[in-house]
């Protein structure tokens, strides 16, 4: 299947008009010795029918959420996505357009992203948000850079109860500039150990990172953590879950300086972990330090309201090595998804999503509390996700659950040995039904195989 529209005669005429006798002549700058000999080993072109069946067959060799009840989380959640999101994203005016460099013919994208920025700013209660980052991990890494340049120190403190994947990204980003990342352990309640944090501040740090809820799903005492950071002259960088913000005090309320997070929950399919949506919001004074694109409202020469990319002097295409970041393409279409999702669900619907996620996860928590041998080490001060140790081995539980169509959770033992052998991380979203949750309980109680 070829998408080339020129015919042989088109090509001949064009070559003639160009003043060459053959295509080879156009390649004269390329030393023949460097040329590929013969064909690439990629097989013959496929028709649309063949592409569809070949790639479609790969899709059918997977077991997607639709066919399983997923209790997996850890940053990516199986959530309801309204049809409006898919409809808007199927319009090629949005998905086939480029970065809005010519603002006059990109008002659709620009206004939509401006509205997205507004929604993120409102969710986080921060002054402003940018037009998106790659994902939560890289947003946090960029926040780290911001903090280090604002506070002029190359040391930051992060919670031990942080995703090891996010932590790994921080490390690889930090290594180049030799930024030191030190860890604040968790308490018996699974939240940040403020005493140790205080001690760690004996040496200057640019920022204290707080994940709220943290990786174990637990809700932190954000206000106290914020006070500590600020009392030590550090910035508070909050890594937050957007859905939790419908219920929990937002970063702006407890004085966070920078808020980042993963927006996948906002109408973006899990898609095996990508594309995701990193969001970043900051206090007014730090906006000009922040990475990535910013859309601003303005007026045209007739005084008509319109939108443009602004403060581009922060960006690489103008500022090159002096730019705040190297980011160019971002996750624009995912930001659009988030805007459509949030507008569709609306104030009440979005809050209901958060309420049901909380209610259902706590329902499962109570169920498991009644199961002989199930241990939840950290109590129930969580939003929608919690840690549980299963009576038997987590592997055997998870594989039995899988056999019964349930994805039971993410094993934590490998990454967090301190948690002890068989801990798993269990997430419950609004999508899970009473039947699925009760079935989960049965399997945990060894009463599986029913139904």
């Amino acid at each position: 299947m070829s998408f080339i529209q020129n015919t042989d005669s088109d090509r001949e005429e064009m070559l003639r008009a160009t003043g060459v006798s053959s295509f080879e002549q156009l390649l004269s700058p390329v030393d023949p010795a460097l040329r590929v000999k013969g064909d690439l080993k990629l097989g013959r072109p496929m028709s649309e029918t063949e592409v569809r069946s070949h790639v479609g067959a790969m899709a059918s060799r997977n077991r997607p959420a639709g066919s399983l009840a997923s209790f997996l989380g850890g940053g990516i959640y199986d959530r309801f996505i309204p049809a409006t999101v898919r409809y808007v994203l199927s319009r090629s005016e949005f998905y086939t357009s480029y970065t809005p460099y010519q603002a006059e013919v990109s008002q659709g994208t620009l206004q939509a992203i401006y509205e997205y920025q507004t929604m993120i700013a409102r969710l986080t209660a921060m002054d402003a948000a940018n037009a998106s980052m790659y994902d939560a991990a890289t947003s946090l890494a960029e926040a780290m850079f911001m903090a280090c340049s604002i506070k002029r120190s190359d040391r930051i403190l992060v919670p031990a109860a942080l995703s090891t994947r996010v932590r790994a990204v921080l490390e690889s980003y930090a290594a180049g500039r030799r930024i030191r990342i030190e860890e604040v352990p968790w308490t018996d309640e699974g939240t940040m150990d403020l005493g140790r944090a205080e001690e760690l501040f004996s040496e200057k740090a640019s920022a204290l990172v707080m994940a709220n809820p943290n990786y174990f799903g637990m809700i932190e005492d954000a206000a106290r953590i914020s006070d500590l950071a600020h009392s030590k002259g550090a910035l508070l960088v909050a890594l937050v879950d957007p859905v939790s913000l419908a219920l929990l005090s937002p970063p702006g309320e407890y004085g966070a300086d920078i808020a980042v997070g993963e927006g996948q929950s906002l109408g973006i399919p899990q898609s095996f972990g990508g594309p995701l949506l990193g969001f970043m919001a900051a206090r007014q004074e730090y906006i000009r330090k922040c990475p990535g694109r910013l859309i601003s409202a303005t007026t045209d020469i007739d005084g008509k309201r319109g939108y443009v990319m602004t403060l581009q002097t922060r960006e690489q295409h103008i500022r090159r090595e002096k730019a705040t970041s190297n980011i160019c393409s971002n996750e624009g279409l995912c930001a659009l998804s988030a805007a459509v999702y949030l507008s569709t669900m609306g104030e009440d619907g979005f809050r209901e999503v958060a309420r049901q996620s909380a209610a259902k996860s706590h329902a499962l928590y109570r169920l498991l509390s009644g199961v002989e041998g199930c241990v939840m080490p950290f109590g129930d001060n969580f939003f929608q996700e919690f840690v549980v140790r299963m009576p038997g081995s987590s592997e055997s539980f998870l594989s039995q659950a899988r056999a019964e169509g349930i994805l039971g959770g993410i094993p934590l033992s490998g990454d967090y040995p301190l948690l002890g052998g068989d801990a798993i991380l269990v997430a419950v979203t609004e999508k899970r039904t009473r039947a699925e949750i009760e079935k989960y309980g049965d399997i945990a109680a060894g009463k599986g195989g029913g139904r």
Binding site: Q5, V51, T96, D127, A297, R305
Partner: protein
Amino acid sequence: MSATIFEKGTGGVSGRYIPENDFPEERIDDLISRSGEVGLPRIGQQDLIRHYVELASKNYHIDKGMYPLGSCTMKYNPVVNEEIARLDGFTGLHPAQDEEDVQGALELIYNLESALCEITGMSAFSLQPVAGAHGELTGMMIARDYFRGRGEDRNVVIVPDSAHGTNPASVVICGFTPKTIPSNDKGLIDPEILEKEVNEKTAVFMLTLPNTLGLFEKEIARIIEIVHRAGALVYMDGANMNALLGLVRPGSIGIDIMHVNLHKTFATPHGGGGPGSGPVGVREHLVDFLPVPRVVREGGGFAFDHVSEKSIGKVHSWYGNFNVFVKAYAYICACGASGLRAVSENAIINANYLMSRIGKWYDIKYPGPCMHEFVASGRNLKAHGVRTTDVAKRLLDYGLHAPTVYFPLIVEEALMIEPVETEKRETLDHFASVMERISIEARENPQILHDAPVTTPVRRLDEAAAARNPDLCWAGPAGGPE
């Protein structure tokens, strides 16, 4: 202009999207610590759809017309790929699912990496970087750890002045010091200058091939040889790979590290700014430094390999933009070997044809033959008080999109034009004739160009005012200027 969704969504009602809570007995109110509402719209479905359909109508897009943005490779995005990528079997997967349940996804990743190796001649690819700049950064990390591993203290990365802004920016973020070298009068890297610059402090020479002028580095073999002799690595920004498919394999000519942009060369949509995908490929000696996890064949199937103690670690929470991989892989399958070669052939023929036509009216500083794109200059219009911006804006009035302007920096009043292979000759002819008409207008009635655009949803926007005090966030709950 359109009222914001907040204005339209004030005091309305949303529909009911999720079922009633089937755990009404769960009391969770004590969890609630947020004071007050978020401030999201309340809007019915019809008005919501109308809002986004109205916004959509204000965008230029590939399905409307030619998109000659240089360096962006705005080619046709096949609709069937969108359908395939929307299959539940791809969109419904959690990245932490058991490998047994995601064999198809792993196979797709494995096949795409293999195809990219075959196309570029590199030994291995990682699909983890989600954009070109992300790929550059990943490449720099690989170089960093490679030299650290060897105990060599090399902290300089040499970058030609024609490079894209992301290159020096990526260099700095990775802790290297960028050193810019000038291009010669042919717009190419000058081996002599390079020779003088490289030394034991040089970690990487970062080039773009073809370069941002659309020119192939005639001396590439010698350049690579110089860099290698100095013990440094050669990084290639593969954003312009659309010129080389089936013609030149960077890995085979000595490139050590490179990235490709699936959202350019491999026909995945740009989405108004993303998501993209910028896979990084390396040659044999650098394979162990690639990000983890890697997908490997295991027994009859596929598995993740999470450990490689030399690895730079991770640059993304999971495996990169998987959903983009699906589209790129489908595209490669559709094209096949012969089709990919035809892509570059036609991209090059289109570019040279268009350059020969545009060259009659605009200045071409570096005459061809070019590869997949070329850079014209509006310099000769300056006499009439016309800037390249004016030309760009006037193109919008003719219902076309403008080329990339004022880049690369080494061409004054630059108009960087990439026609891509999927445009038909008639389309190029139309574009050329409009460019001609505009150059005549510039001479005869420059005011038309200064006033342009006049046919667009809004006219020239006050960027200075926006920069002075940015309005990044809708303030009012409702109301606001119509």
